[in-house]
C-alpha cells in the first residue's frame, strides 16, 4: 500500500531530508515516531501528495507520488487519504452534520446525508449530528473528526498525534477507535506520534506479534 525507496525531500536553503525505505501492506499499521522536527510532517505531506519527493520513489495505493500534478493530486488525495489532524479543526460555526457535508464538498463528492449518518453511526455519535463542535466533549469531537476522515472510505488513514494531550484512558480509546475503524475499512493506518504509549495500545495481531511496524525518524538539522 505504501512503498518508498531512497525517499528524500529538499527544502530550499536546507539540506535534503532522507527517509528510511518502508513497505507497508494494505490493512496494516505503521507507527511513525520520532521527536519534534524529525520530519514526520514532511513524510505525511509526501504520502498525502501535498508535495512531490525530491529524490527516490514513493508509491501509495498504487499511485506514484511525484507524477501527480496539482488537480489530479487533489482528487487522488480526496479519494485515497483520510486525515485526522492533531487539532481536530471542526468548523465552530457548523454543526457536526454540516462539518461532514463540508468535507464531502471539499473532496468533490455530492452531499450524501445517508453516508454522513452512516459514518457517524459507525463511530457511535449519530445522535450528535445537529450539535455544534462547542457542544461536544473531547472524545466526541475526536470521533466526529474520525468520521470525517473516513467518510470516503479512504485506503490510507493518516493520524497526526492522535493521543496528544489525552490521559491514558482517553488515549487508549482513541487508538482502539482508530485501529478498529481502519480494520473495518481495510485501510492502512499511519500514526505519526512521539507518544510512547501508542505502541503499547495497538492490539497484537492474531499470532500475538506486534500488530504494527515502526518507522523511527531521528532529529534532523541542516548539519546532516
Amino acid at each position: 500500500m505504501i512503498q518508498s525507496q531512497g525517499l528524500g525531500y529538499h527544502y530550499p536553503g536546507s539540506a535534503t531530508l532522507h527517509f528510511a525505505d518502508v513497505e507497508v501492506a494494505q490493512g496494516t499499521v505503521l507507527l511513525l515516531s520520532g521527536p519534534s522536527g524529525c520530519g514526520k510532517s514532511t513524510w505525511l505531506a509526501l504520502v498525502a501528495a501535498l508535495m512531490a519527493p525530491t529524490v527516490g520513489s514513493l508509491v501509495v495505493a498504487g499511485e506514484s507520488i511525484g507524477t501527480l500534478k496539482h488537480v489530479a493530486a487533489d482528487a487522488w488525495r480526496a479519494r485515497t487519504i483520510g486525515f485526522l489532524p492533531q487539532k481536530l479543526h471542526l468548523s465552530a460555526a457548523l454543526t457536526v452534520q454540516q462539518n461532514l457535508a463540508l468535507a464531502q464538498w471539499a473532496s468533490g463528492v455530492p452531499e450524501d446525508p445517508h453516508r454522513i449518518a452512516h459514518a457517524l453511526q459507525a463511530l457511535g455519535v449519530a445522535e450528535l449530528a445537529q450539535r455544534l463542535p462547542s457542544e461536544l466533549s473531547g472524545g466526541q469531537a475526536q470521533r466526529v473528526a474520525l468520521a470525517r476522515a473516513v467518510l470516503r472510505e479512504p485506503k490510507v488513514i493518516l493520524a497526526d498525534e492522535p493521543t496528544a494531550s489525552l490521559d491514558d484512558d482517553a488515549a487508549a480509546q482513541a487508538i482502539t477507535l482508530l485501529h478498529v475503524t481502519a480494520q473495518r475499512q481495510g485501510a492502512t493506518l499511519v500514526i505519526a506520534t512521539h507518544d510512547a504509549r501508542v505502541a503499547r495500545l495497538i492490539p497484537a495481531d492474531v499470532d500475538g506479534k506486534n500488530g504494527f511496524q515502526t518507522m523511527c525518524l531521528k532529529r534532523w538539522s541542516q548539519h546532516h
Binding site: 501535498l50 488537480v71 487519504i81 464538498w105 470525517r148 497526526d160
Partner: protein, 399 residues
C-alpha cells in the same frame, strides 16, 4: 450551489461583522441608487413636461422661476403679464401657437390652472371620464388629483387663493368637475384645469366694486404666462431677444434654463456621488478586513479542506462566494433603501405628488448597482481569496 451554501454558513458564523459589512455596503449602494433615481426621474420629468415648448413668456424676473412655475408647476410665478401683450405676440410670424397659463388659486394644494383646450392637446391628454370644459367654472381634473382628493364628475368645490393650501376661500365661485383625465405621467396629472375665463371670473367678480370697475378689469385682463411654439427653430436665435428688449415681458427658453438647473444640481450631485464613493470604498475596506481576518482565523480549517482534497481554487471560491453573498444582499438592501430615500425626499419636498420624485421606479440605470456591489465585494475579496488559495497545508501538519 453547495459552495454558495457553505459560504453562506461561513459568512453568518460572524453575525455582527457580517451585518456591519452588509450595512456599510448597503448604505453606499443606497446612496448610488438614490442619486440614480433622482437624476433619472428629474430628467424624465423635464423631458416629458418640457417637450414641444420652445419658449415661455411671462413677467420679468427669474427665467428659471418662470419655467419651474409655468411648465413644471413647482414654483411660484414671478408675476402676471397683460393679455393684450400676449395677443400681440400671437401675431408674430415666428410664433406658431400660444397656450395661456393663468395661476393663482388652488384646491387643497393642487393648482387650478386657467388655460385653453390647446394645453390638453399639447400633452395629448385623454379623458377617462366626462368631457372637457365648455364654459367657465367647469374643470377637468388630473388623474392624481382625482385619486388623491376623491373628486368625481358633477362634484363641486371652491378654490383657495394662492398656490399652496391655506389661502382664503373663493366661496362664492364653486367649480364643477366635468371631466377626469386619464393618467399620462405628465404634469397634467396633478393639475386642475379650467378655462382661463374661470380665473378671471373668480378674481374680477370677487374684487370689483361695481359694474364699471368690472368693465375696467375686463379691459386690463392678465394671464400668468404663455407657452410658445415657434414656426421655425431659427426663432430661438431672435425671438427671446425680441421679447426681452421690446416688451415688458421676458422670454425664457426651457432647454436653456433646465440645463442651467441641471448644472447647478450637478454640483450637489457630484458631492453626493463622492460621498457615496467614500461609503463604498469604506465598505470595500471593511469587507477586505473581515475576509482577511477570516482567512487568518480559519487558516487551519482551510488547510484541512485542502487536505480533504479541495483544490486551492475551490478553497478560494469559498471566500469569493462569501463576498458574492454580501454583494447580493447589499444590492437588494441598497436598492430598497435608495428607493426609500427617494420616497422620503419626495415626501419631504412634496414632490411625490408632482411625479417629480418618488419611489418604486426601476430605471435601467439601476443595473449599475449590482455591478458596483459585485465589483467592490470581489475586489475586496481578491487578496483574502489569494491568501486562501495559497494556504499552506504543511502548517496544519506541524501544529
Amino acid at each position: 450551489m453547495k459552495t454558495l451554501q457553505h459560504a453562506w454558513r461561513f459568512l453568518w458564523s460572524r453575525p455582527l461583522g457580517a451585518a456591519l459589512n452588509l450595512l456599510l455596503l448597503s448604505l453606499g449602494l443606497a446612496s448610488i441608487t438614490f442619486l440614480l433615481l433622482v437624476s433619472h426621474q428629474l430628467n424624465r420629468a423635464f423631458d416629458r413636461d418640457l417637450a414641444g415648448i420652445d419658449v415661455v413668456v411671462g413677467a420679468k424676473g427669474s427665467p428659471m422661476q418662470l419655467i419651474l412655475s409655468g411648465v413644471l408647476h413647482i414654483d411660484v410665478p414671478p408675476g402676471n403679464v397683460p393679455l393684450s401683450a400676449v395677443r400681440e405676440l400671437e401675431k408674430h410670424p415666428m410664433v406658431a401657437s400660444v397656450i395661456p397659463i393663468s395661476l393663482g388659486d388652488n384646491y387643497q394644494a393642487f393648482r387650478i390652472v386657467g388655460t385653453s383646450q390647446a394645453y390638453l392637446a399639447h400633452y395629448a391628454a385623454s379623458l377617462s371620464q366626462g368631457t372637457t370644459w365648455t364654459a367657465p367654472m367647469q374643470v377637468v381634473v388630473g388623474a392624481t388629483v382625482a385619486k388623491k382628493l376623491g373628486l368625481q364628475l358633477g362634484q363641486r368645490f371652491v378654490g383657495s387663493h394662492g398656490l399652496g393650501a391655506g389661502g382664503h376661500s373663493h366661496g362664492d365661485f364653486p367649480y364643477e368637475v366635468v371631466g377626469v383625465l386619464a393618467p399620462s405621467g405628465s404634469v397634467l396629472d396633478r393639475l386642475i384645469l379650467t378655462d382661463t375665463a374661470s380665473v378671471w371670473k373668480v378674481h374680477e367678480e370677487a374684487t370689483a366694486l361695481d359694474a364699471d370697475d368690472l368693465a375696467v378689469m375686463a379691459q386690463e385682463r392678465e394671464i400668468t404666462m404663455a407657452l410658445v411654439q415657434y414656426t421655425t427653430p431659427m426663432a430661438a436665435l431672435s425671438f427671446p431677444r425680441f421679447v426681452n428688449t421690446t416688451t415688458e415681458m421676458q422670454a425664457a427658453a426651457p432647454a436653456l434654463e433646465i440645463s442651467r438647473l441641471l448644472h447647478m444640481l450637478g454640483l450637489g450631485t457630484d458631492v453626493l456621488r463622492a460621498f457615496a464613493g467614500v461609503l463604498l470604498l469604506t465598505a470595500g475596506l471593511s469587507v477586505f478586513i473581515a475576509l482577511w481576518s477570516a482567512v487568518r482565523e480559519r487558516r487551519a480549517d482551510l488547510a484541512l479542506l485542502r487536505m480533504l482534497g479541495a483544490s486551492p481554487g475551490k478553497v478560494a471560491s469559498l471566500l469569493l462566494c462569501e463576498a458574492l453573498w454580501l454583494a447580493c444582499l447589499a444590492t437588494v438592501l441598497g436598492l430598497f433603501l435608495g428607493q426609500g430615500f427617494a420616497a422620503a425626499l419626495g415626501w419631504y419636498l412634496q414632490l411625490d405628488s408632482s411625479l417629480l420624485l418618488g419611489a418604486m421606479v426601476w430605471p435601467q440605470e439601476l443595473m449599475v448597482v449590482p455591478v458596483l456591489a459585485v465589483t467592490v465585494a470581489l475586489g475586496a475579496a481578491a487578496l483574502p481569496a489569494l491568501g486562501a488559495f495559497r494556504v499552506n497545508v504543511l502548517n496544519l501538519l506541524q501544529t
